[in-house]
Amino acid sequence: MRRFLSGDEAFAEGVRLAAPEVISAYPITPQTVVVEKLSEMVEDGSLDAEYIHVESEHSALSCAIGASAAGVRTFTATSSQGLLYMAEGLVYASGGRFPIVMMNADRSTALPWNIYGDQRDSLALLDTGWIQAYAENAQEALDMALMAYRIAEDSRVSTPFMVNLDGFILTHTYETVDIPDEEQARAFLPPYETENRFDFDSPKNIGFSAGPETNYIFKYKEHAAFERAVGVIEESERSFAGIFGRKYSGLIDTYLTDDADYIIVTLGTIAGLCRDVADKLRSQGIKAGVIRLRYVRPFPGKEIAAAVGSAKAIAVLEKDISFGNAGTVYTNVAAALQWAGVTAPVYNFIGGLGGKDISSDDVRRIYDDTAKGTDRVTFIGIEGDAQ
């Protein structure tokens, strides 16, 4: 069924199809539409779930962890300050290997207060042990909701999954979206089975402490699950294509990279504009390409290096800054390229903070600067040496 939906609404449809049994969430702009839609679905019976009105984001995730430890599928959603307020729970959920799925509406973080989209919230929490995916459009958001459960709950992975949607640009923008039917969804996503749960016949102590003798082994195993997740993601996408007929390209999505001299590596909705500008540059004889990161954890280091090939220079465009260094995506990309032996220069462009528009001229300038060579880190819109 095709419907005209916003990113938030499309994601809610994906969650409905995944049929979580416990939903605990606290409202925050621009996530609210998701939880409102889910509440309506619970009310009208189209989703048979417990919707728990928690008193904070911390409680939202705490409740989801409790329900996951009881052995049921769970969902929560948040954004920005809410995600930061959940931070303690993020490491808790991942360390306990609870495959909770969360939608995060990527939004700027205070201060100054700002409700618009950038990716500083989720990227600041990249190291919390969650799989992190970034959707580009409403269809992908819906599809990722379903895939997130399948990947997170796979016993080879057993890791929580955060799907990020650019605040407003994706969460509140309407597109035509294909909504799969429930039967297809059931064929793709098996019921959640786990032994990581309470059991009255064979009682369990869960969420324990582990001292220095064993702690590192738990952490190693958590890391190893991310390595296995790469294969599980591929497998899930193959199965997804077979059932729903839509193909996804794994950890990254490439555009005209095969022979590209200059490549922008980016994530989220801005990729579309980058592709548009790349097309125009191509028509002028400049070999431009785009890599969109669909996943930032597990990090597609090998995939990026392979797609970069023998490009002359690379730009990383992100809506994020790790103060005192560079963008978080940039440091990840640069390290991966260095390891792969790529010697082309890699430049970082920081844009879109607090919802600032990134224009096609901005993107064109990124390509120009990348071709000419520029500073390691450039804040789009800050001219010269602002210091």
């Binding site: 430890a69 360390g95 306990g96 290997r97 609870f98 057993s158 032994e195 990581n196 749960r197 064979s202 009682p203 369990k204 102590n205 869960i206 969420g207 324990f208 582990a210 064993t214 082994i217 738990f218 195993k221 699950a225």
Partner: protein
């Protein structure tokens, strides 16, 4: 079920769980080494009233055949049982 002592062993890499979920009540160490004094029950004086059983913070006292019996593997020697006993049937001894 009452948690109980298992064989001492070193956990191999494979035996350490992926998650933080493990068999409940799995004990590998005793608490007997904590004691500096040890409760001794005078079976003659004990009337099996259960006061020591009820108030023991470690749950190491059971009433068997109407007499209090102590699991010395896990008794820490706090002496609450001795104080609570209405018949003064529990003596705290220096010997461990």
């Amino acid at each position: 079920m009452r948690p109980y002592l298992r064989d001492k062993k070193t956990f191999t890499f494979e035996e350490i769980p992926e998650d933080t979920c493990f068999e409940a009540g799995y004990l590998v160490t005793e608490n007997s080494g904590w004691r500096s004094v040890t409760p001794k029950i005078d079976a003659q004086a004990c009337i099996g009233c259960s006061q020591c059983y009820l108030y023991c913070p470690d749950g190491v006292i059971t009433i068997q055949d109407k007499k209090a019996v102590i699991d010395y593997d896990f008794c820490k020697g706090c002496g609450i049982c001795s104080k609570i006993c209405p018949k003064n049937a529990i003596e705290m001894e220096r010997a461990i």
